[in-house]
């Protein structure tokens, strides 16, 4: 019997949060190897980047890179993840997913700005700058944060922040 998309998503969520490591791993691997784009489990997969199992972490990263397509109704979940996490890799992937959403993730501007300035993970800060650039003028409230990135910061972060400022200003012109 074919499951409806809703049932399938529920089943997938169930497997991804299962107490049994092997079941979580299998679900994660299948997702990463499916060859299809999957929505609706973005936050769940991001949290698996910090799983205790190295194999799950690897598959989660692979899925996020190539198989996960966030959708607008997931923005609030992603904001919550970014607000609550202290894990640099979780921050990195959450910022990445918000960047992929672009302007529909404008509600994440404040948390992205915080990540940009406060994250101890350079890669996450860079992704936050990139995500703000992808959001565009709707993220103008992050301008002050972006302008705080200066010569003392790593070159790539400076470039990304500069690019984001141009995006926030340039597209509105």
């Amino acid at each position: 019997m074919m499951l409806s998309p809703h049932e399938s998503l529920a089943a997938l969520n169930f497997e991804l949060t299962h107490d049994d490591t092997d079941r979580r791993c299998l679900a994660m691997r299948k997702l990463a190897q499916s060859g299809r784009k999957q929505s609706g489990v973005t936050a769940r997969v991001i949290l698996l980047v910090a799983d205790g199992s190295e194999e799950i972490r690897e598959w989660a990263c692979e899925a996020l890179e190539s198989a996960i397509m966030p959708v607008p109704h997931e923005v609030n979940d992603l904001i919550q993840v970014l607000r609550e996490t202290r894990d640099g890799e979780v921050e990195y992937w959450t910022a990445t997913m918000l960047g992929r959403l672009g302007v529909v993730a404008s509600g994440a501007t404040a948390v992205l700005a915080s990540c940009l300035l406060d994250s101890p993970c350079l890669a996450a800060r860079e992704r936050a700058a990139w995500a703000l650039s992808e959001i565009g003028p709707a993220a103008r409230s992050a301008m002050n944060a972006l302008r705080q990135i200066g010569p003392e910061d790593p070159p790539r972060l400076q470039r990304l922040a500069s690019s984001a400022i141009q995006s926030l200003v340039g597209r509105a012109a």
Binding site: R36, L122, A123, A124, P155
Partner: protein, 363 residues
């Protein structure tokens, strides 16, 4: 230590390659002998972001009518050509300990790799070198004489997810140029995963007066989120600078003009950015799908059609289902990417420069 002169800069290159001793040792022997990790670097931190656009200022557009390039099915049962070599690029999705523990997957990989004279591999997760060593060992147990080299794990700083590049080659038909391997030093952090560069030469016997084909390969795996043609930080607009600097260096040092860019670029042929705009640059695979699902073109073998006349015009993309008889699920266990290969002359063919032809697309 060796000192490499790169333009006006002197860069110290730590050359201590990790290599696997090939057919004469067992896997245990590989472990016993140990590995040397290749960490030699050439500093390209002063890359000019502007592409050096050639005379025409236009892009070589692959896929044009009247293409001379012919896709063919790989006949794995036939003996290797006496005057041609096959080079492949293969993103073996998450090629680490987990995949290594699957004998059926390793057998498939060994069969694929063993069909080629040289394979550039991406997405290796092999800090202890065991998965690649296991693959080489498996090939050699079937009578092969293969070796491999791979670089140190590379990726985002502060991020535990890092990958390696590897090259695996048939030592009876190819040789690695000693001390030619390095990872591009990306001190300005322009790329998520800086490419690995290595030079090889054919060992296929050539006729008197002919010179074995020698070339340099840039092995790359771009960040899929940073290859948008709208972005200032588009990695495709950095890879062109990498190609140009590597080409200039190799020509200055070794009179080498055959430079390939291979790997998972995460873009199709329409989105090669400034890399695709380098005069003469062609993607051999063109628009043919290279992901296992058969829906996207991510993987490329890029050459300068003006200089690399050794390309025979024959290439292929291996479909796991139709070519290897795997099920769709079995195929995805191997990788979400298909191997892509191209055939070249085993001996040098001088480039023929014709101004009238320079702007003609090869495909």
């Amino acid at each position: 230590m060796s000192l490499l002169r790169m333009g006006k800069r002197l860069v110290r290159s730590r050359v201590s390659p990790i290599r696997f001793l090939g057919p004469s040792v067992s896997l245990a022997g590989l472990v016993a002998f140990g590995f040397m990790l290749l960490t030699g670097r050439i500093d390209l931190s002063s890359l000019d972001l502007r592409a050096l656009v050639g005379q025409t200022g236009t892009a070589e557009v692959p896929g044009s009518p009247g293409a001379e390039i012919t896709p063919v099915k790989l006949d794995r049962g036939s003996p290797r050509s006496a005057d041609r070599i096959r080079i492949a690029t293969f993103n073996i999705q998450k090629f680490g300990d987990t995949k290594m523990r699957k004998p059926h997957v390793m057998q498939t990989l060994a069969g694929i790799i063993g069909s080629f004279d040289l394979v550039a591999i991406q997405e290796v997760l092999s800090p202890n070198a065991m998965p690649v060593a296991g693959l080489v060992d498996l090939i050699n147990r079937s009578g092969g004489r293969y070796e491999a080299t791979l670089c140190e794990p590379i990726g985002e700083k502060d991020n535990s997810y890092r990958e390696q590049y590897a090259f695996v080659w048939d030592t009876t038909r190819m040789r690695i140029i000693p001390y030619s391997s390095y990872v591009v030093a990306d001190t300005a952090d322009r790329m998520h995963r800086e490419p690995m560069v290595t030079s090889f030469e054919s060992r296929v016997p050539v006729a008197p007066g002919q010179i074995p084909f020698r070339f340099t390969i840039i092995n790359a795996h771009t960040d899929p989120d940073v290859v948008s043609n709208k972005a200032v930080t588009n990695e495709m607009n950095v890879l062109d600078d990498v190609f140009i600097r590597v080409r200039d260096y190799e020509y200055t040092q070794h009179q080498e003009d055959d430079i390939f860019v291979v790997g998972d670029l995460n873009v199709d042929v329409q989105n090669l950015g400034e890399l695709g705009q380098i005069p003469g640059m062609i993607s051999i695979v063109g628009r043919e799908p290279t992901n296992t699902a058969g829906t996207k073109t991510y993987d490329h073998i890029l050459i300068d059609g003006n200089t690399t006349k050794e390309f025979s015009g024959r290439y292929g993309v291996i479909d796991y289902v139709s070519d290897l008889g795997l099920t769709a699920e079995q195929a995805l266990e191997v990788s979400d990417h298909r191997p892509v290969w191209a055939e070249f002359s085993a001996y040098e063919i001088p480039p023929v420069f014709n101004v009238a032809q320079q702007s003609q697309p090869v495909r």
